[in-house]
């Protein structure tokens, strides 16, 4: 399948001289669930800003749906790639939930009826339609997060990129978030999640990109998360499920299970 996002040899330096990206490469296939893994300060957030055209590549290239992102098509890029920010208080700024979700579609210059339609659908998708007239500061953190996601969904982007979506969420909120992301993926969206939560990545992602110090360390399937060289060098740790099976060499497994479902299957087979 074609790559929906391609990043080639990307460099980025902040005004104060901090080097955030130093020759980063990655490719994300269309329609997958991808996780962008890396420790704090690896350059994840900076990279995400490039995918949405907020930062433009000064050296290197960013391609979205085979078109290079430039100042000319940045508006189009923002309708194709939706970016959900880490802190919902940064993103949800309007005086009511409804207005905030309508912000993106309004900027796209859509007709009022179309905007109403999209806002309603987006709020339904994140299960927040009942809160449409509430001011955002009345909502819980998880609810604000869902409104932030709805604000991006309403623009109907093909690719949805989320920066640390599970941070500060309670277990229930995390589960609901994963359900929402899966639902979006089923509808055909490519979903990219930047995180340092290896368990979330192991359970959820089909494709994994590991970055550190502004460079790509490795990319491939979720099985990457059981490879010692990658995990240690990236400053991450193994998923909990993998850690359990690593303590059991006597099982003599060909590959380490990463998800709860895989682990259950292995155990069930052994106790037969």
């Amino acid at each position: 399948m074609a790559n929906v996002i391609e990043v080639e040899n990307l460099y980025f330096e902040y005004k104060d001289g901090t080097r955030a990206l130093c020759g980063l490469n990655l490719a994300v296939e269309e329609g997958v669930k991808a996780a962008l893994l890396g420790p704090n300060g690896a350059g994840k957030s900076t990279l995400l800003m490039h995918l949405n055209g907020i930062h433009l590549a000064r050296k290197g290239k960013v391609r979205v749906m085979e078109q290079e992102v430039t100042a000319k098509n940045e508006k189009w890029v923002r309708t194709v790639v939706g970016l959900v920010f880490q802190d919902p208080d940064d993103q949800v700024f309007s005086s009511t939930v409804w207005e905030d979700v309508a912000f993106g579609p309004t900027n796209m210059g859509l007709a009022l009826s179309e905007i109403t339609d999209r806002v309603e659908k987006a709020l339904k998708a994140v299960r927040m339609l009942d809160y449409k007239d509430k001011p955002p500061y009345h909502l819980s953190y998880g609810q604000k997060k869902r409104v932030a996601i709805a604000g991006v969904l309403a623009m109907s982007p093909q690719v949805i990129v989320l920066d640390e979506p599970a941070a500060y969420l309670d277990p229930q909120g995390k589960m609901e978030l994963v359900e929402i992301l899966d639902e979006l993926n089923r509808k055909g969206n490519t979903v990219i999640v930047a995180t340092h939560d290896v368990d979330l990545a192991a359970e959820w992602a089909e494709q994994v990109v590991v970055i550190k110090n502004g460079r790509t360390l490795a990319q491939g399937g979720a099985s990457l998360l059981a490879e010692e060289s990658v995990i240690v060098e990236a400053g991450l740790c193994f998923p909990v499920v993998a850690r359990i099976f690593q303590q059991l060499p006597e099982l003599d497994l060909t590959h380490t299970p990463l998800t709860v479902a895989e682990a259950v299957a292995v155990i069930r087979e052994r106790i037969k």
Binding site: M49, N52, I54, K75, R78, T79, G82, L83, F85, D87, D89, D90, Q91, F93, S94, S95, T96, E99, F103, G104, T106, N107, M108, L112, P135, P136, Y137, G151, V152, M155
Partner: protein
């Protein structure tokens, strides 16, 4: 704290609540402009009575109105106390060796009543209009986008900012910091300074993130397209009543002497 901004109080079915926000803004701000130009107490008193009548019809609680009007005290109160003594003229009464003049007292009364009129009119506006409707009215009336956005952002982020300050305060307390007796206490003063500094930097950084998030959703500085329902005849009539009353007071006072002669 912000509760009052978002929710209207009183009977949602009464006159002022139902009035179109745009009409309310124009007529009540116009009312303030005209009554601020009045210079005699009978005219100002009529204005105030008119506003109280409006409040009565709209069933706004008297308690709420008094609470709002009390805000005048810290701002206008001092001026009103000083004025009688500061303006030279015929003495009215004496406190210690200070003479209060009749002229000064007259000016103090007029000033107080102007303030009462202005604050009461704007209280009627905010008490009967939700924050969202008010902002929409501003937009519809072509108030520059930057002002409307400034108001909206201030209201939206003030709670985020106070939350941040409170968390920092608690974190300081957790490490054994105790407030000094006053701001003159050197250590307290230093810590308070740092807190304000950090809050400023955090707000600045947040503003950049907020702006980026707006860009990410295609913001280009444009004005929003809102639904634009026509003004009803009833709305316009009531707006006109409020404006005409204030303008009338002003005209009567302006030409107070000539009018009776014209009528003859």
């Amino acid at each position: 704290m912000l509760e009052s901004l978002f929710y209207c109080r009183g009977n949602m079915d009464s006159l002022l609540y139902r009035l179109d926000p745009r009409v309310k803004v124009v007529s009540l701000v116009g009312f303030v402009a005209f009554t601020s130009a009045l210079g005699t107490w009978p005219a100002l008193l009529s204005g105030l009575v008119f506003l109280l009548l409006l409040a009565g019809i709209s069933r706004i609680s008297a308690f709420y109105l008094v609470k709002r009007l009390a805000w005048i005290l810290p701002f206008g109160g001092i001026l009103v106390i000083i004025l009688p003594f500061a303006v030279p003229g015929e003495p009215l009464f004496k406190i210690f060796s200070l003479n209060a003049s009749i002229e000064g007292t007259g000016q103090a009364v007029v000033l107080t009543m102007r303030l009462l009129n202005a604050v009461a009119a704007l209280s009627l506006l905010t008490a009967t209009t939700g924050f969202k409707d008010l902002m929409m009215a501003f937009r519809a009336l072509r108030v520059p986008q930057i002002f409307v956005l400034l108001i909206e952002f201030t209201v939206r982020y003030i709670s985020v900012l106070t939350d941040e300050a409170r968390r920092m305060q608690i974190a300081r307390k957790a490490r054994g910091f105790e407030k000094g007796r006053s701001l003159l206490h050197r250590c307290t003063f230093q810590v308070a300074g740092k807190l304000i500094g950090i809050l400023f930097i955090r707000s600045f950084e947040r503003s950049e993130r907020v702006y980026n998030a707006m860009l990410a959703r295609g913001y280009a500085g444009g004005v929003r397209v809102d639904g634009d329902p026509r003004l009803g005849r009833e709305d316009l009539c009531w707006g006109a009543v409020i404006l005409v009353f204030a303008a009338g007071l002003w005209l009567i006072e302006f030409g107070g002497v000539q009018w009776p002669m014209l009528l003859k």
